[in-house]
């Protein structure tokens, strides 16, 4: 058991055996964001705003990177501006963590001037001499980093990494959902187009008294000649429009004798 110091300014140490109070609620709140229309900024902000009190860390910053897009949040301005600075200079604990996927725990920044010549002095100037960077990673996919300013206890690092894993999984899921949404709309559009092309083929077939295959050839070559997309042209045909050169005028609806029946 950890010894809990008493007194007005007692520092409530993270209790390894009994867990971190409020942790389960935060997990539930984080995963709950998947049910709503929430982006990476909100999820990351939720994480960084809750971490300091819960994990007894001075301040916390977070970054999520998607191609050229970047989201940065922080529990305090120090954490946020340091994180921003790090991304601008292109080196530092979070940057390295995002690049390699390796956690950097309780790094002594006063001894890191060689490793991060621009970043380390700036952090020290801001009053940060020790820091921890944890990867936001879902399987092999690195999506960002979580940054703790000050010394972090072992249990805080462990809980922090579990939270980081959850946020990474949520970010990856959000991206997959956005992708599948696009794919589903594209699939519906493609299938609709197929249906409309069949209807247009039928109209041309009957109107021009040609076989179905020939109807498709006429549709395709008219689209090519008039530099229109075949889908658009088929839509106009199926809507019953007059198409000069393809369907000059709507045929009269006068009934003819059927072949049989």
């Amino acid at each position: 058991m950890w010894h809990l110091p008493s007194g007005r300014n007692r520092r409530k140490v993270v209790d390894v055996e009994n867990g971190v109070p409020g942790l389960a609620e935060l997990f539930a709140e984080l995963t709950g964001t998947l049910l709503g229309d929430v982006g990476p900024t909100e999820v990351l902000a939720l994480l960084t705003s809750r971490c300091p009190a819960m994990l007894r860390v001075d301040s916390v910053g977070g970054v999520v990177i998607d191609g050229s897009q970047m989201v940065i949040t922080g529990s305090h301005d120090t954490a946020k501006s340091l994180m921003l600075y790090e991304m601008q200079v292109g080196h530092g604990p979070s940057w390295d963590c995002f690049s390699t996927g390796q956690a950097l725990v309780n790094i002594d920044l006063t001894a890191a001037a060689d490793r991060w010549p621009v970043y380390a002095p700036r952090a020290i100037e801001a009053g940060i001499t020790t820091s921890t960077a944890l990867p936001l990673r879902a399987r092999a996919e690195l999506v960002g980093a979580l940054y703790f300013c000050g010394t972090s206890e072992f249990a805080a690092v462990r809980a922090g990494q579990a939270l980081a894993d959850t946020v990474a999984a949520i970010v990856v899921t959000q991206r997959a959902l956005a992708r599948s949404e696009r794919t589903a709309s594209q699939l519906q559009a493609a299938l609709t187009s197929r249906v409309v092309i069949e209807q247009a083929k039928g109209i041309i077939c009957e109107h021009r008294q040609v076989p179905i295959d020939e109807a498709f050839r006429l549709l395709r070559s008219h689209a090519r000649d008039t530099r229109r997309s075949i889908h658009e042209l088929a839509r106009d045909v199926a809507d019953g429009q007059v198409i000069p050169g393809l369907l000059p005028k709507r045929k009269s609806a006068a009934p003819r004798r059927a072949g049989q029946r």
Binding site: S180, L191, E198, Q199, G202, A238, R256, G259
Partner: protein, 216 residues
């Protein structure tokens, strides 16, 4: 009465036959819909499943439609089929189907299709066996992922069709009757229902110029 399914759709039941097998039957059907719930694409594991799917299409009522219209999971059997669907119920029982279970294919903007199994194992109807319906939902979710996966999509779509002949026939009928294609589709469905002839067979005869719907 002869109800024939569309030709050329039953050679490769692969995926849906496997899905049907999971639920103790050999009849399963998958339907993809557009945002307005208009049917875009269909696949069936066997002729019975396709017949049932064609009946739902022709009659405009049935489990796939209901499950995507917001009802979620659908489970009906025996007389319940008649009660729920006045026309579809008796029609599917006539082709030997006694029970149906259907779940929607979910995505963020709602549903974009439905998975139906016909005559599933009786465990579905055991009130103590909620997992059966849960498994069907899980399979529907997996199918959603597969359908939306660019690598899996072509092979999967090749196992079904978009009722090409029915839509070609609708085009022909629209010219013959001087109406829109939507009305022409309704005429084809009405003919199919009135004569107890499968919609695929009706469409094929229109395409062969053996049948005109504008001649009494």
């Amino acid at each position: 009465m002869s109800r024939e399914p569309d030709k050329g759709t039953l050679q490769r039941p692969g995926m849906l036959a496997a899905v049907a097998g999971l639920f103790g039957t050999d009849a399963a059907a998958l339907t993809l819909l557009d945002a307005d719930h208009t049917e875009l694409w269909v696949a069936a594991s066997n002729p019975t499943a396709r017949l049932a799917q064609d009946l739902e299409y022709t009659l405009g009522e049935g489990p796939a439609r209901d499950s995507t219209a917001g009802d979620g999971a659908i489970l009906e059997r025996g007389p319940g089929l008649h009660t729920r669907w006045r026309r579809y119920g008796p029609a599917v029982r006539q082709i030997g189907i006694e029970a149906v279970a259907a779940v929607p294919l979910p995505w963020s903007a709602g549903y974009f299709g439905a998975l139906t199994v016909f005559d599933p194992a009786c465990t579905f109807f055991d009130p103590a066996n909620a997992p059966a319906m849960g498994s069907l939902r899980a399979v529907a979710r997996d199918l959603t992922i597969a359908v939306l996966n660019a690598n899996a999509q072509p092979a999967l779509l090749a196992q079904g069709d978009h009722r090409a002949q029915v839509h070609q026939a609708a085009g022909i009928v629209s010219v013959q009757c001087g109406c829109g294609v939507a009305e022409a589709l309704l005429l084809l469905k009405a003919y199919s229902y009135a004569h107890g002839e499968g919609i695929g067979s009706v469409a094929a005869r229109v395409l062969r110029h053996e049948l005109r719907l504008d001649v009494p």
